[in-house]
């Protein structure tokens, strides 16, 4: 005996998506046929599970996996800069590769594609940002800041500050102080 099945592809897809999303206990809404809005912060672990679950049905989460990876790289770098005890003893490239779980070549290319900047520049920019914060708080001298941020010397710190911002740390401080006194 032969049976003929008539099916509605839209209902089918919706059903599969719902099943997979419910399984992960996510708070979500289906928007149109190809879009899911996740109404909570989703961990990269859960997103991975979702991608894998959908793979069995020939479905694929299109965007995000790349941007999530980039976010993870950024988080790791920022953590590394702001918490002294996290400063790796190994080379930064090896440290990032190990933390992220992909080769450094892969993550540095991906990073550059998505953010328009290199990992190296991102690290420098964020180190200088931290320095700016410390300068505006005005509790440490430039020498102490250079030391805290692991620069080999005050001169090295000042040079990198000037190269990154076009201003010397002293000029930066002067401008911020004047700007503050003006907005008061």
């Amino acid at each position: 005996m032969k049976l003929y099945i008539k099916y509605d592809i839209n209902v089918l897809c919706k059903k599969i998506l719902q099943e997979q999303l419910d399984k992960l206990e996510l708070y979500y809404a289906l928007v149109g046929q190809c879009e899911i809005e996740i109404k909570e912060a989703i961990s990269s672990e859960k997103l991975k599970q979702l991608s894998e679950g959908l793979e069995d049905y020939g479905m694929e989460v299109v965007e995000s996996s790349k941007s999530i990876l980039v976010q993870k790289i950024k988080d790791t770098i920022i953590e590394m800069i702001y918490m002294e005890e996290k400063l790796p003893t190994s080379k930064i490239s090896a440290y990032l590769a190990e933390k992220i779980g992909y080769s450094y070549g892969y993550i540095s290319n991906l990073f550059a594609d998505v953010t328009y900047t290199s990992i190296e520049n991102f690290i420098i920019l964020n180190r200088i940002e931290f320095a700016k914060q410390l300068i505006t708080i005005d509790e440490l001298t430039f020498t102490e800041i250079a030391f805290k941020l692991n620069y080999s010397s005050l001169a090295h710190f000042c040079t990198q500050f000037k190269n990154t911002t076009g201003l010397t740390p002293t000029a930066f401080k002067r401008i911020i102080i004047k700007r503050r006194s003006m907005s008061q």
């Binding site: 998505v114 328009y116 900047t117 920019l125 911002t165 076009g166 401008i175 004047k178 700007r179």
Partner: protein, 148 residues
């Protein structure tokens, strides 16, 4: 992956300068959408129209007739909806006094107009990518100062 476009607005009264600016931007490997206005009044009118999209970065020529770049800067910083737009001053002056004055008034970037096309491209690319890091990585905009 196609990145979200970066919106750029230029206010400059010199038509040649505007065209060169657009050409330079289009040659960068960055997905930008650029709009231009030709004087300070047109700029303020454009920005205060609520249904106009705010740019990620505004390049502002200092030396414009009627309303100068500095006037615009001061006015923009007084308007709540506009005060967080990143502002790059784009000027032929390189006096330390001008530079510091605009920073104190709230500019984020000061660019001395380069005199050749390839350095213009380099400078624009630098400003747009660094600004993008502030936009996407939660950095503190109050500390965003860059002098080129």
């Amino acid at each position: 992956m196609q990145n979200e476009p970066i919106h750029v607005l230029l206010a400059d009264d010199d038509e040649d300068d505007r065209n060169i600016f657009i050409d330079a931007l289009n040659e960068l490997k960055i997905n930008t959408v650029v709009q231009t206005v030709k004087d300070g009044q047109e700029l303020i009118d454009h920005l205060t129209q609520d249904n106009n999209l705010l740019p990620h970065v505004l390049f502002l020529d200092l030396n414009m007739p009627c309303k100068t770049g500095l006037d615009c800067l001061i006015e923009i910083k007084r308007i709540d909806r506009l005060k967080d737009v990143a502002i790059a001053i784009y000027s032929t002056s390189s006096s330390e006094k001008d530079i510091e004055e605009t920073f104190i008034r709230g500019a984020n970037v000061y660019i001395k107009k380069p005199n050749n096309f390839s350095s213009l491209k380099k400078v624009l690319s630098q400003v747009i990518t660094i600004n993008w890091q502030y936009h996407t990585s939660g950095l503190n905009r109050d500390n965003f100062l860059l002098s080129l």
